[in-house]
């Protein structure tokens, strides 16, 4: 316990304390007076200093949404907590506290400077979210394992590190080890690392680092692979044909179908199954490719549409801007003319003219907007029709392909039934040569059982196919509806915003004119 105020009673971070601190550290002098008049909202505070306050528990900071710098040093904090809301934090000072583990920093993605000097930390971890970390101070702690350094390799921006007065800093190899494993580091324990040291360290630890690097690269490659696969799957999903580029569907048909699996041991069924699978997979792949193609088509359609809409809006905005610029030019000159005019009747006349101008501008802008709304509505409707047609066509084609799958299944079913019945007959006659597995033999009790078993297998298969088809159809339909809804909603939002903007502007202009009027009359 190093703190001089250790003996004092712990204090709670309550509203009063925060208000006091904010007030003290806020603007001074004239601005301070203003601030006092108005009061300062916690969410406007950018920097807060709460040192030497004997704080035991971090609390009540959730309002400081925009805080950039927080100093909580020289307290008796034991646990890092309550900082989740401070996502904009860049600088966090928690030095001279009693923290034992690093935690609770997962939301501080913007943190660049973290000081945990003089605490009781023995392990560096839980810093993964801090991708922008540049300065890390962990001196005077209880870190005793060199492997903690390797953890720091993931911080690509880390340039300054202090680890002095830790158990590991006693180690003979301490400096060399860090220099070797953190080659981008510029400052260690407040000293600049010279190139010579870097080279020496590199040479010394070359083998282990190479190995580490190799592992890291492997990991990286694996991660990238997974990422690529995920992306690929995602792409297929957006085309609604995921897992159709192989035997996935076919396999899933047999996954829960114990009878079907059993029946496959019947003589002749193996080959039958093989050809069935081949044909089935071919159809699946057809669906898959068709789906991707259609997806591409839909995408280009959507892109063209968005581009055209954007262009139209842009053009319309430009027109509006021009109108406003023209108006402002005129308006400013007439305002100054009004200011200089002395005769009251003249002033009134000019003001009337001005407000006429304003309403003219309003009309012009609103006309433009209404025009755009009409144009866009037409375009959107056209797009909607087209996209719905496309989706419909896609569904139709997929359904016909799925029907082929079903036909295959029916065909297979018939064949299987035939084989089963003939096998049953053989068993009944007792001239079956092959040995059948027990499970399978159990089915051949009588005709009903075997027919039921084959039928059940068939039903399962059909169900799977139906399910896949249903899934595809539902998903694409819901995608389509959502897309259309979004487009309509966006357009409505856009329209409302524009109308609001125009009204606001016009109101402002009008009130400016009114103020002028008042002022003049008062004068």
């Amino acid at each position: 316990m190093n703190q001089p105020c250790n003996s004092m009673e712990p204090r709670v971070m309550d509203d009063d304390m925060l208000k006091l601190a904010v007030g003290d550290q806020g603007p001074q002098e004239e601005a301070g007076q203003l601030a006092k008049q108005e009061g300062i909202l916690f969410k406007d505070v950018l920097s807060l200093q709460l040192d030497f306050r004997n704080i035991l528990r971090i609390d009540n900071l959730w309002q400081f949404e925009n805080l950039r710098k927080l100093q909580l040093d020289n307290n008796i904090i034991e646990k890092i907590e309550g900082l989740e809301n401070l996502a904009h934090l860049v600088w966090l000072d928690l030095s001279f506290n009693n923290i034992e583990t690093i935690e609770g920093l997962d939301t501080l993605v913007n943190l660049e400077d973290l000081s945990l000097f003089n605490n009781r930390i023995s392990k560096i971890d839980s810093l993964d979210a801090l991708v922008k970390l540049q300065v890390l101070s962990l001196g005077n702690n209880r870190i005793d394992n060199m492997l903690n350094i390797i953890y720091l390799r993931r911080f690509k921006c880390l340039r300054t590190l202090s680890l002095s007065r830790n158990p590991i800093s006693e180690a003979e190899d301490y400096k060399m080890f860090i220099c070797a494993y953190l080659p981008d580091l510029m400052y260690l324990d407040y000293r600049r690392i010279d190139d010579h040291t870097k080279k020496l360290a590199e040479a010394k630890h070359q083998y282990s680092i190479d190995e580490l690097k190799h592992q890291e690269n492997l990991m990286q490659a694996q991660l990238e692979d997974e990422q690529a696969q995920r992306e690929e799957l995602e792409k297929h999903k957006t085309a609604f044909v995921e897992h159709l580029n192989g035997s996935f569907l076919f396999d899933s048909m047999y996954a829960e179908d114990s009878e079907g699996n059993n029946l496959s041991y019947l003589p002749g069924v193996g080959e039958l199954l093989e050809t069935y699978k081949d044909k089935f997979v071919i159809i699946c792949v057809n669906i898959f490719e068709y789906g991707l193609k259609q997806q591409e088509k839909r995408k280009t359609e959507l892109d063209t549409f968005s581009e055209c809409v954007r262009e139209a809006i842009q053009e319309n905005q430009e027109q509006g801007k021009r109108k406003i610029a023209k108006f402002e030019e005129k308006h400013l000159s007439s305002l100054s003319a009004i200011r200089e005019e002395l005769e009251l009747p003249n002033i009134e006349k000019m003001i009337l003219e001005c407000s006429a101008d304003i309403s003219e501008l309003f009309d012009a802008l609103m006309t433009l907007e209404m025009q755009l709304v009409e144009q866009l509505e037409e375009t959107i409707n056209m797009f909607e029709r087209n996209i719905v047609d496309m989706v419909g066509l896609f569904i139709e084609n997929v359904q016909s392909l799925m029907a082929q799958c079903r036909d295959l299944e029916n065909h297979h079913h018939e064949k299987l039934l035939e084989i089963s019945i003939s096998t049953l007959e053989k068993i009944v006659e007792g001239d079956l040569d092959e040995d059948l597995p027990n499970d399978l033999r159990a089915l051949f009790v009588d005709k009903d059982t075997i027919v039921n078993a084959v039928g059940a297998s068939h039903d399962i298969h059909l169900l799977k196919i139906d399910n896949r088809e249903d899934e595809l159809v539902t998903r694409i339909n819901s995608w389509c509806t959502r897309l259309i809804d979004r487009i309509h909603k966006d357009e409505i939002m856009r329209n409302r915003k524009r109308v609001k903007e125009i009204n606001q502007y016009i109101d402002h202009m009008q009130s400016e004119l009114d103020n002028l009027e008042c002022g003049d009359i008062l004068d």
Binding site: T304, E307, K321, I502
Partner: protein
């Protein structure tokens, strides 16, 4: 003589009157025919027509009161050189040859007009036309091509009609005189042009022939006005962008189609009427314009220039009318016939029939059937063999042999009597001056002074301390009109351009971290101070500063200021923000900076009415007074800064005009101070060294002269003795030296031998170290011996030579002058 002069004067009077008449007539004709566009297919836009009208109205035709006559009275011949006033024997001879030629020609072709061979020049001296051509290459690169030469001649000289339109003139002046008075007839024009063209390497000829009325009177009314000829527009292939599938439809057109159609019909009717009217007008004009049949058609004498193909990459023969400077094909119908043509080397007579203008003429001057030459031995003998045969057949019966009979078959054309033709800018208005510089420390490269506007423009190379690129100004005085452009990449502040007027200063920036793009400061009138104040101590008060900024992508648009205006005098600050991408209005804010006091006497820091703002998307925090206060304080600081910057720039500008020094190349040893110093030091050192050497050179006679009484002249005997003594002494010294070397050599050899002996005796008992020692000694001793040997040999070789050299020296020694007498 009296009578003669009177007669001449009368003639001249008549000539002058006639010329005046011609001129008047030409002018009348011009006035009667308004400039008309003949080719109706060039449909002109209204705008271009208006432009044209304006342009044409700007042209002021000053018809000088004096008559454009150009007679020898007006020419001051007193200062002309002798070659103008007399003929050299060679020229006389040439004239005789020409006379002879002319006589034979008139004898053989009695029905043709006399030749134009040797008109009188301004000094009344007959000169052969070819010698009047003075091929000259002008020092101006602009006058290197035929078109610019022709344009120059046409623009520079004023056209004077021929005294008698049916005859070649009696006088042909030198081009120098023509240039001096800037007047001339067609022969003067073509002589000057031809001289220039031959000088620039063209195969050009003066032509004496017959031209159309228009050509002879420089009447261009029937030509298409060059200003209406539109430059050929490069037809851009407009890539028609296919409308995209979802391109919005244009807003519905709410105009009545019926009305439109009616309107169109009406327009068409009007247009048809207009067209009809125009056509009628056109026809009428055509009728009127049709050239009246010229009574003198084909008889009007004209002179022009023929340029033959072959030289200067001229692809085919063409004519140049020197009056207009236009080029014509040789087939052109304006040129009705050719009598003769000449260049600076020879004279040819056209023997071809000109019934069909010049269309059938073949300009193969080497063909004696078609072109009768006056002098033989010119370079025009590139005739094919068959044609030569032809000419051989025709040889006896025709005029060909008349020149060849002469003894001067290869008579050389004498050198031109005309002085060097010079076109000097003297006497003309200087429009602009360009000065090129090098090696200047301020990197000034080019200074361009426009004399009419008095605008000076300096161009700088990169490397000026202020990164100046272009500086245009009228006066170096500060606070005057000027435009300065900079190499903006070389400047820290990214300044691109600065424009100054007495009341404003505008700056343009590029690539600044604060995104400033434009700053405009306007100044008020200087407040008069009681003390005498100069520009530095009393800067002009700044009335208004306007700054514009590029969009800063790091900031949201509603916080990114696009323009701020500091109305310093009104204590007002206006801000306009950038427009957000999906908006059409931009936020604005206006701060009134009034320091007011409230009722209790406290200073009001900030009140809501001090900041009027319009926000596109009102936000909570911007409504706060504190925010506004801080913004205002920030702006106040910025304003101060801006003002300060403006003043600083003004100060800097004054310093910029300080004296310029030259940079000196390190290779420029004369001007480079450092190298000069170094070189001088070296020279001084060498000089001193030399002096010392001279001083230390031994006086070989001194020891012997010392034996003799000083200050007395040596007698002959003494001199001989002295010489002998000196020589013998020298000989002794040489021998001594040889002995010394010999002695050393022997000593070394002996020692070596001793050592070798010792070595052979003790060879068995020696340690390896001793052996090494011995071996190194041996090699060193051998080295020394060899050196001594070489020295001795050299000495033996050189000693006699040295002896002889001394003897020679002694003979020449002034102190032993007596010796020379003996041997002399």
């Amino acid at each position: 003589m009296e009578v003669l002069r009177e007669k001449v004067e009368e003639e001249e009077e008549a000539e002058r009157e006639e010329a005046a008449e011609w001129a008047e007539w030409a002018r009348m004709e011009k006035m009667m025919r308004p400039v008309e566009v003949r080719k109706e297919e060039i449909t002109l836009k209204q705008e271009t027509l208006r432009d044209l009208e304006k342009k044409l109205s700007e042209i002021q035709i000053t018809v000088s009161a004096e008559l454009p006559a150009f007679t020898k009275d007006t020419i001051d011949i007193s200062k002309l050189p002798i070659s103008y006033k007399t003929n050299t024997p060679k020229e006389e001879h040439l004239l005789q040859v020409a006379d002879n030629f002319s006589r034979q020609y008139s004898h053989l072709c009695p029905d043709r007009v006399p030749l134009f061979l040797h008109p009188l020049n301004e000094c009344e001296v007959p000169k052969f036309v070819s010698t009047t051509l003075r091929p000259t290459l002008m020092p101006y690169p602009e006058l290197y091509n035929w078109d610019s030469c022709a344009q120059f001649v046409s623009d520079f000289l004023t056209m004077v009609p021929l005294p008698d339109p049916l005859k070649p003139p009696s006088h042909l002046y030198s081009s120098t005189t023509v240039l001096k008075y800037q007047k001339g007839n067609c022969f003067d024009f073509s002589t000057l042009l031809c001289s220039m063209l031959i000088g620039s390497g063209y195969d050009a000829y003066c032509v004496n022939g017959y031209g159309s009325l228009d050509l002879c009177h420089m009447d261009l009314t029937r030509e298409v006005c060059p200003l209406t000829v539109k430059p050929k527009e490069t037809i851009k292939k407009e890539e028609k962008v296919l409308p995209k599938k979802y391109t919005i439809k244009p807003p519905r057109d709410l105009c009545s189609r019926f009305e439109q159609e009616q309107e169109v019909k009406k327009q068409q009717e009007i247009r048809a009427q207009e067209k009809k009217r125009l056509r009628e007008e056109e026809e009428r004009l055509m009728e009127a314009e049709k050239a009246k049949p010229d009574a003198l058609h084909g008889l009007r004498v004209h002179s022009w220039v023929l340029v033959l193909s072959g030289k200067r990459e001229v692809p085919e023969n063409f004519f140049i009318d020197p009056f207009t400077g236009h080029s014509y094909s040789t087939q052109d119908e304006h040129f009705l016939g050719i009598e003769s043509l000449w260049n600076h080397k020879n004279y040819w007579i056209n023997m071809q029939d000109c019934w069909n203008c010049c269309k059938d003429l073949i300009f193969d001057l080497g063909d004696p059937v078609r072109w009768e030459y006056m002098l033989l031995g010119t370079d025009k003998s590139q005739l094919s063999l068959t044609e030569e045969d032809d000419s051989g057949i025709n040889d006896e019966d025709d005029v060909e042999n008349l020149g060849k009979e002469d003894e001067d078959k290869s008579f050389d054309m004498p050198h031109s009597w005309v002085e060097q033709i010079e076109i000097s800018p003297e006497g003309t208005n200087i429009l602009e001056i360009k000065e090129w510089y090098q090696n200047r420390e301020d990197m000034l490269e080019l200074k361009h002074i426009n004399k009419t506007t008095d605008l000076k423009t300096d161009y700088f190379k990169p490397g000026h301390p202020q990164a100046l690129r272009v500086h245009s100004y009228k006066s170096m005085q500060p606070e005057m009109d000027r435009v300065i452009e900079f190499y903006e990449t070389a400047r820290v502040d990214g300044l691109m351009k600065r424009e100054e007027t007495p009341r404003t200063m505008t700056e343009y920036y590029q690539g600044r971290p604060d995104f400033l793009s434009y700053r405009h400061a306007s100044f008020g009138p200087r407040v008069k101070k009681l003390t005498l104040s100069s520009a530095e101590s009393n800067p002009r008060p700044i009335v208004k500063i306007t700054e514009r900024f590029f969009r800063n992508p790091a900031k949201p648009a509603e916080e990114d200021v696009a323009e701020r205006v500091f109305l310093v005098a009104e204590e007002r600050i206006q801000l306009r923000y950038h427009c957000r991408e999906d908006h059409i209005t931009a936020s604005k804010r206006e701060f009134l900076r009034r320091t007011e006091v409230d009722s209790k006497g406290n200073k009001i820091i900030m009140t809501p009415d001090m900041c009027i703002s319009f926000e596109v998307e009102p936000m909570e925090h911007t409504k706060k007074l504190l925010y506004q206060y801080e913004a205002m304080m920030h702006l106040k600081r910025e304003e101060k800064l801006s003002r300060h910057q403006v003043l600083e720039i003004l100060k800097l500008r004054e310093e910029e005009e300080a004296a310029h020094t030259l940079t000196i190349s390190i290779y420029d040893t004369k001007r480079n101070e450092k190298s000069k110093e170094y070189r001088e030091a070296m020279e001084r050192m060498m000089h001193e060294e030399h002096l010392r050497q001279v001083e230390t050179q031994l006086d070989y006679l001194a020891p012997f002269l010392a034996q003799l009484p000083p200050g007395e002249k040596l007698t002959c005997w003494q001199a001989v003795r002295l010489k002998d003594e000196c020589l013998s002494d020298f000989k002794q010294r040489l021998i001594n030296k040889a002995n010394l070397i010999q002695a050393r050599f022997e000593k070394e050899t002996q020692e070596l031998q001793k050592k070798q002996q010792w070595y052979q005796e003790n060879q068995v008992t020696l340690t390896p170290e001793d052996e090494d020692l011995y071996l190194s000694y041996c090699s060193q001793a051998m080295f020394r011996i060899r050196i001594l040997e070489q020295r001795l040999n050299r000495h033996k070789e050189l000693a006699p030579l040295k002896y002889l050299a001394l003897e020679e020296k002694l003979y020449k020694d002034p102190r032993l002058g007596e010796l020379q007498k003996i041997f002399a």
